[in-house]
């Protein structure tokens, strides 16, 4: 018992020490989010281990930790990004962006340049001599500049090119090349700017191009005198010219508004949204119809091989989806696919399965019905078996035919127990990125320059905006789209669940 307590305290102490180390590191970097999370998490962990009141939470903590880190936090962060302009060219903080911009230099005209020669033995650089219009300097390989006084420069042949410095011979061109990487990185402070190697024979003066005025929050271009002011996360001049990089800044609801009013997005958004709903409704509807039909077929006890049939019919469910989708993509291939080969042989015609908008949508729904009907069949079978036989007997006595028995008894009862699963299936299909991405990649293209293709669903459109953009990565827009998807799915599920009173049943189960 004592050993156990000691062990517990020792481990906790070790963890706390580590946490403090990380916290200092985060504090140093000014990474407040990570600091808060680590500090908060560590305090919570200490409370969990040391307080007896927290006992049940100890079991939940590990799972909740990962849930918070990888589901809840990303959800909140997505929400946050959706209100920013986070995108290519806008990924730094303002200070970082200004820091980068202030490092930009330009060479003033007329240029101030120095001819240079390097001296030393092979592989070992001794020093450089820089000769300008007026002054001549001595430069150490580590970038220290000093006057040439005290150094002896000799020109044996009198051609104006010095041959020796303090007894060290001048490097040949080849030897100079060996040191070039080192020389190129030199930034020697000189006057208001820096001297840098410009060519193999010349160092040149570069001046910082921009000056930042923190009081007025403006950047001044010293070369042209232009004034740049911050506009939506970027320094922009009056004539519209901007300086990259920009920075991340709040843009309010702009990303959301764009999806409804900006012609570059709202057409695509509307079209993709309608297709996503269509796709989800068609898939769930058709696969449920097929699955239910097969379930009714298999539900007959007189069918001898029904166990075997069931096992074979769920094969599409047992094959990993990404594999079967890629196989279907091969079958649908316009030139070498199985279907077009067969059509060509029998009818002498071809169908553009994946390259024509209509047929591509057809193929997507067809493939998804193939993938989904086994699930529908299995849940229908379960539900069918739970319907008491007396109901059918009673209906038959009342004179109901087979069709009436199906529509008046079977279907209503099935819908009660299956509605939650159909809603779940709808929500899942609504975001079935893998199917779309592996089968068509969202293609075919509907218009030049339009990223959302004919079969893109909202989630694959968001993926394209975030990671595959022709205009760079539009993380802010993609996040706003993700929030929209969440709201749509939440709304649809919420309404349906309220209608089916599924949550009440769930509560009873607790």
């Amino acid at each position: 018992m004592v050993v156990r307590v000691l062990l517990k305290v020792a481990l906790l102490g070790l963890f706390d020490a580590l946490a403090v180390y990380w916290c200092v590191l985060f504090l140093w970097d000014g990474n407040w989010t990570f600091l808060a999370v680590t500090a908060g998490g560590t305090l919570l962990l200490n409370w969990l281990v040391l307080s007896s009141r927290s006992y049940p939470l100890r079991y939940l903590f590990p799972g909740l930790f990962f849930l918070s880190l990888m589901v809840v936090y990303p959800a909140g962060y997505t929400f946050y990004i959706s209100f920013t302009n986070y995108s290519t060219g806008h990924i730094l903080s303002k200070d970082e962006a200004i820091g980068l911009i202030l490092q930009r230099t330009y060479s003033p005209t007329p240029s101030v340049s120095f001819q240079f020669w390097a001296f030393g033995e092979e592989g070992k650089l001794y020093g450089l001599v820089l000769r300008g219009e007026e002054d001549t300097y001595f430069l150490l390989p580590d970038g220290q500049l000093s006057s040439l006084k005290g150094h002896e420069l000799t020109d044996h042949d009198g051609d104006g090119v010095p041959d020796e410095l303090d007894g060290h011979p001048r490097l040949t061109r080849r030897e100079l090349f060996q040191n070039i990487e080192r020389l190129q990185t030199l930034r020697v402070p000189y006057g208001e700017g820096w001297l840098r190697m410009a060519t193999l024979t010349e160092f040149r003066l570069y001046l910082p191009q921009y000056r930042y005025n923190p009081g007025k929050d403006i950047l001044v271009d010293r070369k042209t005198g232009k004034i740049y002011r911050p506009v939506e996360g970027k320094f922009v001049a009056d004539d519209g010219a901007g300086i990259d990089p920009g920075w991340v800044t709040f843009v309010g609801l702009r990303n959301y508004i764009r999806f409804f009013f900006d012609p570059r997005y709202h057409k695509a958004f509307g079209r993709v949204f309608l297709w996503t709903v269509e796709f989800a409704v068609l898939t769930v509807g058709l696969s449920f119809a097929l699955g239910l039909a097969l379930a009714i077929l298999l539900n007959d006890r007189k069918l001898r091989l029904r166990k075997l049939y069931r096992s074979l019919l769920i094969v599409p469910y047992a094959i990993p989806a990404f594999i079967s989708i890629l196989i279907w993509r091969g079958f649908f291939n316009t030139h070498v696919g199985l279907f077009n080969q067969a059509l060509q042989n029998w009818l002498g015609t071809k169908v553009p399965w994946l390259t024509d908008p209509f047929w591509a949508r057809f193929s997507v729904v067809f493939t998804n019905v193939w993938l989904t009907y086994p699930y529908m069949m299995l849940i229908s079978l379960g539900a069918l078996q739970s319907i008491p036989g007396e109901l059918y007997e009673a209906a038959a006595i009342d004179g109901a035919g087979p069709w009436q028995r199906f529509t008046r008894v079977t279907l209503p009862l099935l819908m009660i127990s299956l509605a939650p699963m159909l809603i779940g299936s709808f929500a899942y299909t609504f975001n079935n990125f893998t199917l779309i991405w592996l089968l068509t990649g969202g293609d075919p293209v509907v218009a030049i320059g339009e990223r959302a293709g004919a079969t893109d669903i909202l989630l694959s459109y968001a993926y394209k905006l975030a990671f595959q953009g022709a205009r760079g990565n539009e993380m802010g827009m993609a996040s706003a789209l993700a929030v929209n998807i969440f709201l749509i799915v939440a709304l649809v599920s919420g309404i349906s669940f309220a209608r089916t009173r599924m949550l009440e049943e769930v509560s009873r189960g607790m």
Binding site: L25, L305, L378, A427, N431, L459, F467, I485, F486
Partner: protein
């Protein structure tokens, strides 16, 4: 009359079996066709024969010894295996707390777990990408393009519907077993570890397998987090491998599809009935 009835019975029976076999043909033909193709040395899509003329293992040799396929398969099995194992552990711990302890926030917690599922991880892809990028600046082994990083992301799904499933199972295990152990001086954790877990082995296996199959097929997050041929999981690698190469890589791809699918098919059919009852209890196959 009796005779007509009998004819009707036989016709109906015939029609039912016929319909079943038509449906089975629809279900199986892609698999059967790909299986045939994988043994066809011709290596292209333009043969419509199911059984190749001169079958050979050429495609399998090419796949296993000249392509990065084994690496991808191993990556997938490794990532999905480790994530699933850890997920099941976390899930069991959580489910035990929900099943055996009474504490404030228990009902809310259970409902929250269901509601959080409404925000699929895929929707947070941008945030997850940026989060891992930042984690990577402090711990490169846990950042972008690492398998531990991907596993970390997958662990976010450990608590969720599966916790409900497991809690339901734990509820059916009589408490008297643990109570008697605790009378003998066992702590609740010892009771959990040595009494509940062994008894709950079936549900642990089922949830492990469901999780494994789900993660084995996960594409979106793996595709944004992993870069470089050596790091790909099977789903990401195979999509790039076949990409626009249906004309010249079909045979090798078919061999890969057979091996890649067998990994899951074997587990699935070995535990068929338990997995189905788990999956159709409300979870949807990913």
């Amino acid at each position: 009359m009796a005779c007509r009835r009998k004819v009707g019975f036989w016709t109906r029976r015939f029609v039912r079996n016929l319909l079943a076999w038509v449906a089975i043909a629809f279900a199986l033909f892609p698999a059967v066709f790909v299986l045939g193709t994988s043994f066809n040395p011709a290596n292209n899509l333009s043969t419509t024969r199911v059984i190749p003329r001169n079958p050979s293992l050429a495609n399998y040799f090419e796949l296993l010894f000249r392509q990065p396929f084994p690496t991808w398969l191993w990556n997938s099995v490794k990532v999905a295996g480790i994530s699933s194992f850890l997920s099941v552990s976390l899930c069991a711990l959580g489910a035990y707390a929900f099943s055996r302890f009474r504490f404030s926030g228990r009902r809310v917690g259970l409902l929250t777990l269901l509601l959080v599922q409404m925000f699929p991880q895929a929707l947070g892809m941008v945030a997850i990408f940026l989060l891992l990028k930042r984690i990577g600046t402090y711990m490169p082994w846990l950042g972008l393009n690492t398998h531990p990083g991907l596993i970390l992301v997958y662990l976010g799904g450990a608590l969720g519907f599966n916790t409900w499933l497991m809690k339901g199972y734990f509820d059916t295990i009589p408490r008297s077993l643990e109570e008697s152990a605790m009378v003998d001086g066992a702590t609740p954790f010892q009771a959990f570890r040595w009494i509940i877990l062994p008894l709950a082995r079936p549900i642990l296996a089922v949830i492990f397998v469901i999780q494994f199959i789900t993660l084995y097929s996960e594409y979106l997050l793996a595709s944004i987090l992993l870069k470089g041929e050596k790091m790909y999981t099977l789903a990401v690698g195979m999509r790039i491998f076949i990409g626009e190469h249906y004309r010249d890589r079909w045979g090798i791809f078919a061999a890969g599809a057979v091996i890649g699918a067998l990994v899951v098919l074997v587990i699935f059919y070995a535990l068929q009935s338990q997995i189905i009852s788990g999956l159709t209890g409300g979870a949807v196959k990913e």
